[in-house]
């Protein structure tokens, strides 16, 4: 038992770092759900493509100038293209895979099935263009193995700090945008009452597109961070990460931005507890048990409203 307690703080730190990134991905699910009441099951693939874009930038930089890569300028160079590309990809998905369906008054099932199709399409597109073998993130050139320190016997790497800081900064930026700006108010208006938002003069289609852009851009950033953390990426990585982030979004209360962040953190911590107290092999079992238990006992999640509060679906 004392052995287990000795590794608990270490596992919690891992859980915290992963959890903030889960939260980042979960925001994409929850924002899209907020405005369209659909689960964008292709969001995991958007995340995966973000990881590939970051990998591509890093590979090019390593090709050009071996050595002398400092994360302070390399990391933004990886994150910004990944976020821009994924944001654009998200908007494209909405425009061509979902809007034609919901604009014609399809039931909610239509866009959902289309999302599953888009997910399969994107996986295979990446496999065909990038190959099925995994790519190695040369994370060591950015964050050398020696960049770590220990606090009370807990190993903390600079990369984990960077993951947490970048995720928190992006979440903070999103919250400010949603709370304080005209675009953010429009997003909230559309998610609360789409018809009245249109009556205010808001171009609802454009706001939905921007919501996809923002959510997908965060997913792309998360892809880069996870790529650096696990150092290996492949075209199916979006599947499990996507499901985990979806679980985080449901746990926090889907449609709720605060819920996605808290859900992500909680899930990261729960996973690390499972690794510590049960068995690392049971990590995913515990994650999806959380999903099932949430759906059965508290389907509205921690911060979500119950269905009865919804004006229209």
């Amino acid at each position: 038992m004392s052995d287990i307690l000795a590794i608990l703080p270490q596992q919690l730190v891992f859980g915290l770092a992963l959890g903030t990134v889960y939260g980042l991905i979960a925001l994409g699910y929850t924002m899209v759900y907020g405005v369209l009441f659909m689960i964008n099951f292709a969001h995991g693939e958007v995340f995966m493509i973000g990881a590939y874009v970051g990998w591509g930038v890093l590979a090019v930089l390593l090709d050009w100038s071996v050595g002398g890569l400092h994360p302070i300028w390399v990391l933004p160079l990886m994150l910004i293209p990944a976020m821009a590309f994924c944001g654009g990809l998200g908007m494209t998905l909405e425009r061509f895979a979902y809007r034609p369906l919901y604009a014609r008054g399809a039931t909610r099932l239509g866009p959902l099935i289309s999302a599953v199709g888009a997910s399969i399409f994107l996986q295979n597109a990446v496999m065909l263009t990038q190959g099925a073998r995994m790519k190695v993130y040369m994370a060591n050139f950015l964050f050398p193995r020696t960049w770590r320190f220990s606090i009370f016997g807990v190993n903390v790497s600079v990369l984990m700090i960077v993951m947490i800081v970048v995720s928190v900064l992006l979440m903070w930026a999103l919250v400010v945008l949603v709370q304080r700006t005209t675009l953010g108010r429009s997003i909230r208006a559309v998610s609360e009452d789409r018809e009245m938002a249109a009556v205010m003069g808001i171009n609802v289609g454009r706001v939905v597109g921007m919501t996809f852009f923002l959510g997908s851009a965060l997913g792309g950033a998360a892809g880069v961070l996870i790529g650096l953390y696990y150092t290996q990426i492949d075209f199916v990585m979006g599947y499990s990460a996507g499901l985990k982030a979806f679980t985080a979004a449901v746990l926090g209360g889907i449609g709720n931005i605060k819920g996605a962040m808290v859900g992500g953190l909680l899930l990261g911590v729960i996973e690390s507890l499972a690794v510590t107290f049960i068995n690392p092999a049971f990590k995913d079992v515990v994650t999806f048990a959380v999903l099932i238990l949430t759906l059965v006992f508290k389907p509205e999640g921690i911060f979500g409203e119950s269905l009865a509060d919804w004006k229209k679906v």
């Binding site: 009452d193 009556v199 205010m200 003069g201 808001i202």
Partner: protein, 237 residues
């Protein structure tokens, strides 16, 4: 100012408006009466472009507006106080008013501030509750917010859908006083009501809609007196 001619609107297979014509002149208060499912709200939605007429035309200040996006209709000067208020409950009172001025968001800030002051002047209660979530307001306060929100668009034509619904008689009188005050300040008003007596008491003219067809139109005073109209179409004995 506003002219609907022979408007036919469908909801799926259901013909909700069967050739509705009506006209609102600048400076008027016109009321549109009718019972449940008579097509009153559909008329409003058709004017705003939330539903499209199958045939017929809607024109505003001499230009066709049927077929335009709702945002463009609002930009041209038509705002709506919707049925059941429908304020954004998870936004503050102030944010609701800001959303009301969405189409004017590129105008100078002091213009918007002045209109905000005007709304607060009409409804002092809204100033007191500016930072409160709109969902926490009482029904009467929400109605004031819905009216204030529509005024923030600085409309030339204000559409009001059942402003008396769910309000106590005292509040109904207050709301209709405010409607008259807004009209005197130069805003044309088209109000849809089930409460015929109150609506006709402030309106200049009225139309009666039944089953998607216009069955009567006259001055408000004449409609108030016309016993057969009251009996047959307004559900009064």
């Amino acid at each position: 100012m506003l002219k609907l001619s022979e408007v036919v609107t469908y909801y799926g297979p259901i013909m909700a408006l069967k050739g509705v014509s009506l006209e609102v002149n600048a400076g008027e208060i016109v009321c549109l009466l009718g019972g449940n499912a008579s097509g009153k709200s559909t008329t409003m939605k058709t004017i705003l472009g939330l539903v499209r007429p199958r045939t017929g035309s809607v024109s505003f200040e001499g230009e066709r507006i049927d077929g335009l996006l709702t945002g463009e209709v609002v930009r041209r000067g038509i705002a709506l106080v919707p049925e059941a208020r429908r304020v954004f409950g998870r936004m503050t009172v102030w944010e609701n008013l800001v959303m009301g001025s969405y189409v004017r968001r590129h105008e100078p800030k002091d213009e918007l501030d002045r209109d905000m002051e005007r709304v607060y002047g009409l409804f002092p209660r809204l100033r007191e509750r500016a930072t409160q979530y709109a969902g926490t307001l009482s029904g009467g306060e929400q109605q004031m917010l819905a009216i204030g929100r529509a005024l923030m668009a600085r409309p030339r034509l204000l559409l009001m859908d059942e402003p008396s619904m769910g309000l106590s008689p005292a509040l109904v009188d207050q709301v209709f006083d405010i409607i008259q005050a807004i009209n005197r300040q130069g805003t044309t008003i088209l109000v849809v009501e089930q409460n015929a007596t109150v609506a006709l008491s402030i309106a200049h003219r009225g139309y009666v809609l039944q089953n998607g067809q216009m069955v009567a139109s006259d001055s408000a005073a004449a409609l108030l007196k016309a016993d057969d109209v009251r009996r047959a179409y307004l559900g009064e004995e």
